[in-house]
Amino acid sequence: MILQIIAAMLAVASFSILFCVPKSQLLYSAIIGGIAWFSYLSFMGMGAGTVISSLAATFLLAVLARIFALHLKKPVTIYLMAGIFPLVPGSGIYYTSYYFIMNDMTSFVAKGMETFKIAGAIALGIIFGSAIPQKLLLITVRKK
């Protein structure tokens, strides 16, 4: 589990470099990515299923990205974009096309629907995260 989170943080940090995130912000985006992946794994561990886990993790990610952005006076995008990558259904795309080619139609439909649901869950997570009023977030920042 700890190894998983470290790997997720490394992955998010190295993708942040690919998107030219300023060097001073790399650590923060890695931390946010690590927390998001941790919450995804925890929800999965509680048996919540991929869709709910993605929703929860993306929501947390979006809120954290906004808090960090407020705190450090940087655009939200730089934390959100790289942090979202571990949650994007890359494996869904792979298995969907794989089952399609293998003519395993039952699995194909199941995987395809799951991939779409995860994409939708990510969308909802970001939307819920952005919908929290700025004032509420300001309070959390001051409390720190």
Partner: protein
């Protein structure tokens, strides 16, 4: 009064640069509004799409002017966005005049991309980490590292030659699949699927998806739809690339049955 014109040009230039490097629509619009307001232009209209900017100022007076810009969908460079954000913050706090603003804009434009070596190495590292967190073993991650590096070199080469994005996506994912199936074929104890999943991560449209959702949420439906279409098409290209290689593998003599 050429002043008016110059201010509008500055605002649109900054917006253009933001949009080109992957800023969201509302950020671009906001930035342009703030700059125009900071230089005391009251009467303006700005409309931003994900590949165009339309702006006009002081329509009803003698010094009216307007600008239309075409902005192609480009690479994401979040460093530039951060710097431009800082610049627009300074302008709207009236800490810098037009001349210094131009100088700073040029500075922002010249922030370089990281070197090819760095990009390649970190793509490899990222791919191997993704392979690991999606359930691969250490050996899978090890192979994914090298495949990811070759993939990035190919992608950079494709960008230099200005090959169509669809072609590079299809060929890139096909290459990755071929590589991992080759390892599987020669009997290395790897999970070929995990390697592929890790290595297609640089191609997966995470950014297009995120941007599109955020645009849609802010009510910019047209721009959101453009990015959503981009994300869907990219995902399909990846599926085609991966799928074609799996089909081809069946016809290779001695090809094992895939699990």
């Amino acid at each position: 009064m050429s002043d008016n014109k110059e201010i509008l040009t500055l605002a649109v230039e900054i917006g253009d640069e933001l949009l080109r490097n992957g800023g969201e629509i509302y950020r671009v619009e906001d930035t342009i509004f703030h700059i125009l307001k900071a230089f005391e232009i009251e009467n303006y209209d700005v409309y931003v799409l994900s590949n165009g900017i339309f702006a006009s100022a002081n329509e009803d007076s003698d010094d009216s002017c307007s600008i239309i810009r075409h902005v192609p969908l480009g690479d994401v460079h979040l460093g530039k966005i951060t710097a431009l954000n800082q610049l627009s913050r300074e302008i709207s706090e009236k800490k810098c005049d037009i001349k210094t603003a131009w100088e700073k804009l040029n500075e922002c434009r010249n922030i370089p991309m990281p070197q090819t070596k760095t990009l390649t190495f970190f793509t490899g590292l990222g791919c191997s980490c993704y392979t690991y967190i999606f359930g691969g073993s250490f050996l899978d991650a090890f192979f994914a590292f090298f495949l990811g590096m070759v993939l990035k070199i190919f992608l950079l080469y494709g960008k230099k030659r200005k090959t169509s994005k669809f072609i590079t996506n299809i060929l890139g994912s096909a290459f990755v699949t071929a590589g991992s199936l080759f390892l599987y074929h020669i009997g290395a104890p790897v999970f070929h699927d995990k390697i592929v999943i890790g290595d297609i991560m640089p191609l997966v449209p995470g950014i297009a998806l995120t941007t599109s959702i955020r645009d849609l949420f802010n009510g910019d439906y047209l721009s959101g739809a453009i990015h959503l279409l981009d994300a869907l098409l990219t995902a399909m290209c990846i599926a085609v690339g991966v799928g074609s290689m799996i089909i081809l593998y069946r016809y290779i003599p001695g090809g094992k049955i895939l699990p």
